[in-house]
Subunit: 177 residues, 2 copies
């Protein structure tokens, strides 16, 4: 049994799809998702807009679930010690919303296994599934880069493109992700 730290945004929660939908609704401009590829997160919007969206009450509560994540996280949690580790501290509204979101979409995750932090350098685990170089860089276990548009140029880590590949990596043969 391994301890696996799993990130929320861009990993369990489809943040990219959500920011595009919120931007289209609030700012009236539809952005081609391919424009997010290989550029820093949020850089496709006018300056300050991404941070403004992230700081809006309700934003995190309504993020769609990443395809395949529920089934695979459930299967992982049955065989391993799974911790959900989210860098939530920068956006105070997100704390309660992220907890409510987890309780709704991942009810099998116990509150004991949830961590909201700022820096992830304090997290000790065997594996970390995350989309950000800054979180994986200092990790002492095995870092696993979950593909997101912004991290496509990164070549430093074992890359998992979707939850089906997570299931394969951890040899969860029973799961249809």
């Amino acid at each position: 049994m391994a301890r696996i730290a799993i990130d929320m945004d861009n990993v369990m929660a489809d943040l990219q799809q959500h920011v595009l939908a919120v931007y289209a609704k609030d700012y009236g401009e539809v952005i081609d998702p391919r424009r997010l590829d290989s550029v820093p997160e949020g850089s496709v919007f006018p300056e300050g807009v991404m941070v403004k969206m992230l700081n809006t009450p309700g934003f995190f509560r309504s993020i769609p679930v990443m395809k395949g994540s529920q089934e695979v996280v459930k299967a992982l949690a049955a065989e391993h010690e799974v911790f959900i580790v989210s860098a939530a501290m920068e956006f105070p509204f997100s704390l309660a919303e992220k907890l409510a979101w987890l309780n709704e979409h991942f009810p099998f995750i116990h509150w004991r296994n949830i961590v909201f932090c700022g820096s992830k350098t304090i997290v000790e685990a065997d594996y970390m599934i995350d989309d950000h170089d800054k979180n994986l860089r200092s990790f002492k276990g095995t870092p696993l880069l979950f593909s997101a548009p912004h991290n496509l140029p990164l070549t430093d880590y074992k890359r998992l493109n979707n939850w089906e590949e997570v299931a394969t990596f951890f040899e969860l043969s029973e799961v249809a992700a």
Copy 2:
């Protein structure tokens, strides 16, 4: 420079004083603080009352600061890597309130250095200052038991009775706690 994980309730925040004050106000009964000594936390109240108080909005936001904690935590943070690590996940209301409380009373603590978790088994640090055996037991660094009424019978750890003793332990000669 060491990494020091510091608990909030009963360590930075005077939880015992607060529950007695809230109980006296809401239930009309003044309890002698000495009755808290050496008995499990909350056991001095009728069953369920402690949990009910902890789940009341505003409870955590208004806890008084533990005597000496601000000066010593500030001095520790100047010399070491200080992380505030609080088991906040059991009480959803506490998340935003604890963050606001920290921002008010410990404004020198950056959000990157705040961790709200359930189980603290995932925390990696050199020292952990905590009042609960359950948090210190699995800690791989040096556990430091901060005295609280409920832990007086515990003899398993290096005990620090107050923030002056924390300052002495970490050789912070400049601090008047």
